[in-house]
Amino acid sequence: MPSERLRRSGGGYYDYPVLRRPVWTWEIPLYFWLGGMAAGAYVTASLAQTVGSAEDRRVVADGYYLAAGAIVPCAPLLIADLGRPERFHHMLRIFKPLSPMNLGAWALAGFTPLALARAASHAADTGLLRGPLRALAQLVPRRLLELSGSILGLTLAGYSGVLLGATNVPLWAKSKLLGGVFMASAMSSGSAGVTLAAARRGAPETTLHRLATLDSAASLGEIAVLTGYLVQSGKAARPLTTGRFSAPFWLGAIGAGTLLPLLLHRLARRRHGHMLEFLSTVAAVCSMAGSLALRWSVFEAGKVSAEDQGASFDLSRG
């Protein structure tokens, strides 16, 4: 039917997208998840080191192992996604905080050695490291590392949502809260990781209860920011809230990632021993998995959003 091909004034050019589709692949949401979790665990462990009781400090320091383990694959993932991986160091040839991509590369480059050094120092404390390596690791200035690492870690956890938001993709850019959403998810998954480690090694119940309180507060915060994000996004959030990515988003990111851990921690409040450890473990695993579901669904739904001509016009009209 030729009449279908006739263009209305102001109706857009056929159904061609206004934007080019982002070329990033699965490495990026995985990196956002791991980097955010590493930062969240590092910040949680450092908070316990700074203001916690002796028991808290001992148990929660395992968070440094988690931070180190999660941060190691981050740089390789980020590099693998580049069009020219052998030129990854070009990110660091200038310092340009105006570009979130540049700021993030610097934050990752700074946070990685700090997280590894602090984990080595913890390994020296627990006797995991022996001999000359132990002596070397004990030289690490812990307080300084905890403070600077937490600042760089918060930057790493906080820039990813800002980076996606600093584009013209309607799902990512319409609301200004995506950076806050990813930050909340990073902190809740990181503190959940610490809870998981603590529950597995049989931590004292007071510490587990404190971690449950922190996890629950983080989940509540995440729900609040996510609600704001969805309300502000309005129609632009449709590729996320309906269609292919609605199941991982509603069931994974919201259900498993925030509501279920809240419920489980609530049930665990008056529990003791193995039951408490079991409930804490399940809640933590759900929260961590939900965080990955959030990054992945927002990331992939963004590609759909980028190809939506009408959504692009709506965004440009404000």
Binding site: L6, V23, D81, K176
Partner: protein, 280 residues
């Protein structure tokens, strides 16, 4: 000391600024011959896009991309007389706008994207590492990355260079040189803007009431990305040509985005301090 460092790092002084150059694309003169597309491909040695029939009028190019730096649109409109018999055929050769505030350039983390001495936006192919951030940053969908496994400059970002190599030799860019109807006009941006205003006046006097300029400093489209160095005379609303009414510059909202992100992070740290330090 600094001089020695510059010699060591092979750092050259940037060329002195010259008169800003640009394109004025007058779509009222376009006949849809696609000579610009072909000349661009030839001069810049860009690979063919393959033969795919879109079914959308004579447009089998579809969109700008990593190896398509000029794209001729064919817009078939029914006129308002209601019979549907009479049609208006709008043609427009789209190109990188070389924005005064370029989103791609601001997004670039490596400094590969630069502003040249002619005021144009240029990708340095030896610097770009293909991070891909410029692609969703561009509000016009211009810049793109070549496939990693391709044969042409694999894995880096590409777009119109405004024939930077030709400008260096005082030559007209290939598309403007090949345009048989002067729909694509190349020159000093200031002079082109004056010419565009005169042309708009002529068309309006002849009754082309919907004619407008897109990319001038006074237009709503310049609110964030600034005036365009490659600007257009259109015969209909911008969205008819897939051009956004107000192309957005991500920098404008960045501080607010970081603010929310930081607020959530600080909030978590405060709650954590209360939880671990509170009861003792």
């Amino acid at each position: 000391m600094i001089d020695a460092y510059k010699r060591l790092m092979n750092i050259e002084e940037p060329p002195a600024a010259k008169t800003a150059k640009g394109f004025f694309t007058d779509t009222s003169l376009c006949i849809g011959c696609k000579a610009c597309e072909v000349a661009c491909k030839q001069w810049n040695q860009l690979p063919a896009d393959g033969f795919a029939m879109t079914g959308n009028s004579y447009d089998n190019t579809g969109s700008l991309g990593a190896t398509t730096w000029r794209h001729v649109q064919f817009i078939e409109q029914a006129t308002a007389n209601g019979t549907g018999q009479e049609q208006r055929w709008l043609m427009m050769s789209d190109v990188c706008k070389h924005c005064a505030n370029a989103a791609c350039l601001e997004a670039c983390p490596t400094g590969a994207l630069v502003r040249t001495e002619y005021g144009t936006v240029y990708v340095q192919q030896d610097i770009c590492n293909g991070c891909g951030f410029c692609i969703p940053a561009c509000p016009f969908g211009v810049i793109d990355r070549t496939p990693k496994d391709g044969h042409f400059e694999a894995g880096t970002a590409h777009k119109c260079t405004l024939c930077y190599d030709r400008l260096k030799d005082d030559m007209t860019p290939a598309c403007a040189k090949s345009c048989p109807t002067a729909s694509i006009q190349f020159g000093d941006v200031e002079e082109l803007r004056a010419r565009a205003r005169r042309r708009l006046g002529e068309l309006q006097a002849r009754g082309e009431s919907k004619a407008r300029l897109y990319g001038m400093a006074e237009g709503p489209e310049a609110a964030e990305v600034g005036p365009l160095h490659a600007f257009f005379l259109l015969l209909d609303e911008p969205e008819t040509y897939n051009l956004p009414e107000v192309p957005r510059l991500p920098r404008k909202t960045m501080a607010e985005r970081y603010g929310w992100s930081a607020a959530v992070g600080v909030g978590f740290a405060l709650v954590g301090a209360l939880v671990f330090g509170g009861r003792r």
